[in-house]
Symmetry: C2
Subunit: 144 residues, 2 copies
DNA sequence: ACGTCTTTGAGAACGGGTATCATTATCACC
DNA sequence: GGTGATAATGATACCCGTTCTCAAAGACGT
């Protein structure tokens, strides 16, 4: 788990301390391959028997976000989701309006188009989200 | 104001009635060239002397959204924004993390990359948002 | 082990968005 | 122009994700 270890190191380095709640959040997030909401993280930890407060989950996520260790993902439903930031495997999301399924995708041409746009406007882009909403293949063939 | 008139017609057609609050919201939105939040619309109408409830603003926006007359824009700050849907002038947004400025952009290569991704995944994409965050040209040259 | 300073957890507080409900306004019909 | 059925409206209570507060617990240098 390279991301988990590196993230714990960076967090300890930044604050000078370690903490149990923060470690649990990082470890859970490191096991995921797509995004999780703060509530989902909280529920996952509680169901695993940990006595973790929701505020600690938000604090851990905030700290990681400031250090660029997580990618904040906004799917448009008013709930912030987070996933480990693997710079070598940057991806975006397809959201099905029918069944709510979220699946990641990556596309080099999309990335280069984004970089070209930002550069042409004088922008130093720190982050970008692309969210495609619609009907997934399964739901297109179901009744709709 | 072609969008304003067409939108009022479509809304009346859909519900069978007209209403003063809805008309004010549509007229205000039709005067904008980029996105506004519900609160901004509400404040704008109240400061113009109209006694409009915030609930009516949300209802008007919801109705227009269902008919595809507005584009819902999510800039990642937890506030939904809306702008007139001009299908001939589809655009996305650059957001400055420093000064909060929002500016629109459009890019045909970006659009075609999105369509290609969605098609390759069997997705019927109904809507897509691209939000680029970073430092705008002004803020890059200021202190930061 | 001790003291200091950060983290933590519970719950209050905040804010955008939605639901409720009595009142008002619109419109087809007369 | 009335009249009645029905939708729109505005004030406000409510929901829920997120942030704030604060006392208690934990981490680390000494």
């Amino acid at each position: 788990m390279p991301w988990t270890d590196a993230t714990l190191d960076r967090l300890r380095e930044a604050s000078g301390r370690s903490g149990g709640a923060r470690r649990l959040v990082v470890e859970l997030l490191g096991r995921q391959d797509c995004c999780l909401s703060a509530q989902e993280i909280h529920d996952g930890l509680r169901s695993g028997g940990a006595r973790v407060g929701i505020a600690s989950v938000y604090r851990a996520l905030e700290g990681m976000d400031e250090l660029g260790l997580v990618q904040r993902v906004d799917l448009g439903d008013g709930i912030a989701r987070f996933e480990p930031a693997h710079e070598e495997a940057h991806h975006h999301h397809l959201v099905c309006d029918d069944c709510g399924k979220v699946e990641p995708f990556e596309d080099p041409a999309l990335e280069s188009a984004i970089e070209r746009v930002a550069g042409g406007r004088g922008y130093a882009v720190a982050a970008h989200d692309v969210v495609l909403r619609g009907a997934c293949e399964d739901c297109r063939h179901d009744g709709d």
